[in-house]
Symmetry: C2
């Protein structure tokens, strides 16, 4: 089945057969986890979708909304016999969840995640695999979908449709697991691109983590009493600064060096801007404006 086949149909299951998964477990049922669970259910890709919240806090709202079939708060209990686990928790919790699930789930199943950073997670899981002398059937994923708001009430069954999911095998990941992860995301209507975790982190430092830093810095550098004088420009440039600070702290801690490098590179571009403004060099200003416009226009609106 090609990605096109799966995206052209939202109701039939891939290959026209029954559900692919007997028990799919979503750990952390917020915007992304809720949307994935909902899509798995809508597309009848799993006999059962189990959502796991924090200890003592089963994700009842997500269950009431129809994002999951069943709400659990005990990870080891929920993941027993699962043949698919998707970790949608904050990045620094993902390795421990992966390890906990790997010990109780169906040995034929596999685990993936949706974290915004990939190398540290992969390294930590690999270290545990070596220590336990057992292979954990894990492969990282990062759906480029979501938003600044969080929580299952923001979930949408079609969130992944037409989106891009980066799948991040390392050199030890069996080809079969790569194929199964790609099939999972394509079944939900997404396109997939595979790349090593390190390449992912360096790319996303530029395309996602740096924009977050810049948006937060721009918002912070605006005097509060001038906020009523802002218009659509400031509004879109700073939009993502509204994201959850604790989650973004984790992302930047995990991807510290690539994010630092991206920020240093950005600071160099700003030095050209400062020099052009200091000198009043109109030609240099126009050239800097054109450079930004060229890259931005490559994307379309």
């Amino acid at each position: 089945m090609s990605a096109d086949d799966s995206t052209s149909s939202t109701s039939s299951t891939p290959e026209g057969a029954g559900p692919i998964y007997r028990r799919a477990v979503i750990v952390g049922v917020g915007l992304l986890g809720g949307s994935i669970g909902w899509a798995l259910r809508n597309r009848q890709l799993a006999h059962e979708v189990v959502g796991v919240g924090r200890p003592g806090k089963p994700p009842l709202l997500a269950a009431a909304m129809g994002c999951i079939d069943r709400a659990e708060s005990d990870l080891a209990l929920a993941a027993r016999d699962a043949d698919l686990v998707i970790c949608c928790a904050p990045v620094q919790q993902i390795p421990e969840h992966v390890l906990a699930c790997s010990q109780v789930m169906n040995p034929e199943g596999f685990i993936t995640d949706v974290g915004s950073t990939k190398l540290t997670i992969a390294q930590q899981i690999q270290q545990h695999s070596q220590r336990q002398q057992s292979n954990i059937a894990f492969i990282g994923s990062h759906p480029l979908a979501g938003g600044t708001s969080s929580g299952p009430e923001q979930a949408r069954a079609d969130l992944l449709e037409g989106s891009l999911v980066l799948v991040t095998p390392d050199s030890d990941t069996p080809l079969e697991i790569i194929a199964r992860a790609e099939k999972l995301w394509q079944s939900l209507g997404a396109r997939t691109i595979c790349m090593p975790p390190q390449m992912h982190d360096q790319a996303l430092a530029q395309t996602s983590h740096l924009p977050h830093i810049v948006a937060a810095a721009l918002a912070a550098s605006t005097a509060q009493d001038l906020v009523p004088l802002t218009a659509t420009g400031w509004r879109s440039t700073t939009r993502i600064a509204s994201g959850n600070a604790k989650l973004w702290r984790q992302i930047l801690e995990e991807n510290r060096l690539p994010a630092l490098q991206a920020l240093q590179n950005f600071a160099k571009v700003l030095e050209h801007w400062l020099a052009a403004l200091e000198k009043g060099d109109g030609d240099a200003l126009e050239q800097l404006l054109e450079q930004g416009k060229t890259t931005r226009d490559a994307l379309g609106s």
Copy 2:
């Protein structure tokens, strides 16, 4: 008439009387000029709305769209006997247009503009007034409405509805002209705030010009081959980098020192970010993220 009265009705004219203006002239009929002309016509605020293009280039498309009643390319001819002139040309052309119109228009009328910078324009017009020993009935305006696209095909009759227009009298502007400018914008459904040109320029350096610089620098610092890996965050943070580089060059040249100061202030915030990432100081990162979030959340989505 209060601003509320005018915004609560889109079809009747203010004070229930006939049109306010006999001949309203729009110089530069693009997105903003076209929208203003269209709104003046829809609200029956002028007997005639004349649009002026560049020499030899009457704005025929805007006339065909209904943004203006008549398309002209000779400014002096079009502005003859006008009782309202709104200059919507690039900022560096505004003073000469204002002077040209002031010599032929109805001496009871007034002129305003929609430029993104205000002090240089006001100073240049004041110098000419003094040289000619005649008062030019000019007052600056800046509607915080528009978009990155330009041209009359982007015009919307409701563009100004609910928007904010900054009106920028200087110490010599007669109170009566201030009142008439505020009435003009309120008649088109906008709210108005008055402030001196210098205060406007310092505020907008932070709320509009700095975001443009930052968006352009962010886009330019992203490797072209990574653009396909961007998502909604990068997309909104860089959106305004698509703006017209020649127009933005003029804006930054006109408002060079306030823009430089805003950029220097932003660069200081970035230094805190660089230090926090270099040290791997998670608490500092979270504090910086929270600072941005607090200012952004003050605005709402």
